[in-house]
Symmetry: C2
Subunit: 294 residues, 2 copies
């Protein structure tokens, strides 16, 4: 029986090893180099780990979830590269390293982001069958990926987030932004794991609800960390929300209220894991995600 | 029996009408508005027309090619929006209108471009079955779209194009840039039509070869037009290549040599249409594409 940390390490290493298969370095391509620079920059790999863990939770072989798990990390990385561009958040530090455009220039960074999105789709298309997914599982997986990254997910979330400093922001608005910008991709990760395990629609819906709750908690936690962190503990520039005059959950509910809301959402997520045979890894993961070191 | 212009109009109108189905306006979404601003900006719709015409050439029902045809136009538009951004070509005029970022700002233009790529995939995923595509046809179509828009297509073409002014450019380099940047998506359009018609692999390969030849001819023609046009006839800023110190086919072969090369490629493309039952529309289209008004 592996400890939580050991199991997390197994999942994380499987995902990181898969990047050399799904996106190998082409020595003649600065584009591939730039894509890999950001994709291999570390990070907790929470989204792909969620995909593998949900696949296991639903009784599947985690190998079948590997292409989609890698794909969600590619899409997450693409959104970070574009988010960091000067015309967006204009960030120069990410995961403790210079952001993509600082190293490769804005034009290549723009193309590298798009390339990672493209490669995410191609990974499911090119490797899905080899890793054990049926045609309909591949189509379902692509649909989940597209929904979470498109108009019903990240992109609309980012537009609303840009407007955050211009409009009167209430709780419903912030919840919608967090759902689109963060929770959609976390829940997609869980659903992709369930799809790879061949889980039924009801179980997929439960994976979705779990991911939405964790995603909201995760984002509120992010708002809290933005207030109380240093660049060293956060790995990126803190205090941005305040500088950009963005309303956060901490503004709306106060620090204590925000922390209570994180707890409420954590309990909700945990309850959605009840009834599965082996929920312990995901229960521990839920608690750690929602109470990240501060 | 329709004339060429009548048939072109039928295809073009079918594609343009489909945009209201595949990407309807959401009154509350500036992102959708911005995506539709560029998608509905007109243009010749050559890529989707090629998809529908190749579907018909292979004996298919053109309705089955409509989602993929719309998808190639969305991807083409996405690449134009990103190409026009200040960090890329910094163009302010496209199809006679202000470019996307001039109207909506860089951040929304960036997201709108990504949104169109996402929506292209979703169109095949969401509407493919309804329009008569099997699961394997949908997967094949997505693979063709991803290849042409990713590392084996537009994105690498754009990186090489950016470097054009920094390196010693010879004919092989330019042919590679043109193949990746332009011909890949034109040939994808033809292959998608063949796939929608249920054509065999040999016919798909012929569609690909046809599209590659037309694409090379089309791009050399573009280089020629860049030298000899006015903003009014071209609908965008001419003379950019010279200002940006980019080597073109006109530089390498001279004006006459470039025109001869267009003719050679046109003949090659036409010969690939021999043996089909009703090639007349595509033969006429080939000649018009490669000899656009100048």
């Amino acid at each position: 029986m592996k400890t939580f940390d050991e199991q997390y390490g197994v999942y994380r290493e499987a995902v990181e090893a898969s990047f050399d298969v799904f996106l190998p370095q082409d020595p003649s391509s600065v584009l591939t180099e730039s894509m890999r620079y950001s994709l291999l920059a570390g990070g907790k790999r929470i989204r792909p780990v969620l995909a593998l863990a949900w696949c296991a939770l639903c009784g599947g072989d985690t190998r079948a979830a590997l292409p989609a798990a890698a794909a969600v990390e590619m899409i997450h990385t693409y959104s970070l590269i574009h988010d960091d561009l000067p015309c967006m958040d204009n960030d120069t530090l990410r995961r403790g390293r210079p952001t993509n455009h600082v190293i490769y220039g804005e034009a290549v960074a723009l193309l590298a982001g798009s390339g990672l999105y493209d490669k995410a789709m191609e990974t499911v298309l090119d490797f899905g069958a080899e890793y054990g997914l049926s045609d309909s599982q591949r189509l379902d997986s692509l649909k989940v990926l597209c929904s979470a990254s498109g108009l019903e997910g990240i992109l609309t979330g980012q537009v609303l987030d840009i407007k955050n400093s211009d409009v009167a922001v209430d709780r419903a608005y912030l919840e919608r932004v967090n759902d689109l910008k963060t929770a959609a991709m976390l829940s997609a990760s869980c659903v992709l794991g369930a799809v790879a395990a061949g889980a039924d629609a009801e179980t997929q819906a439960r994976a979705d609800a779990y991911g939405r709750a964790v995603g909201q908690a995760f984002q509120i936690r992010d708002d809290i960390l933005d207030v109380i962190s240093t660049p060293e503990t956060l790995g990126k520039t803190p205090g941005k929300d305040s500088v950009e005059n963005k309303t956060t959950f901490v503004d709306l509910l106060g620090m204590e209220g925000a922390q209570k809301e994180v707890l409420r959402l954590t309990e909700k997520a945990l309850s959605l894991l009840d009834g599965f045979e082996k929920p312990s890894f995901l229960k521990e993961l839920t608690e750690r995600m929602c109470g990240r070191e501060a």
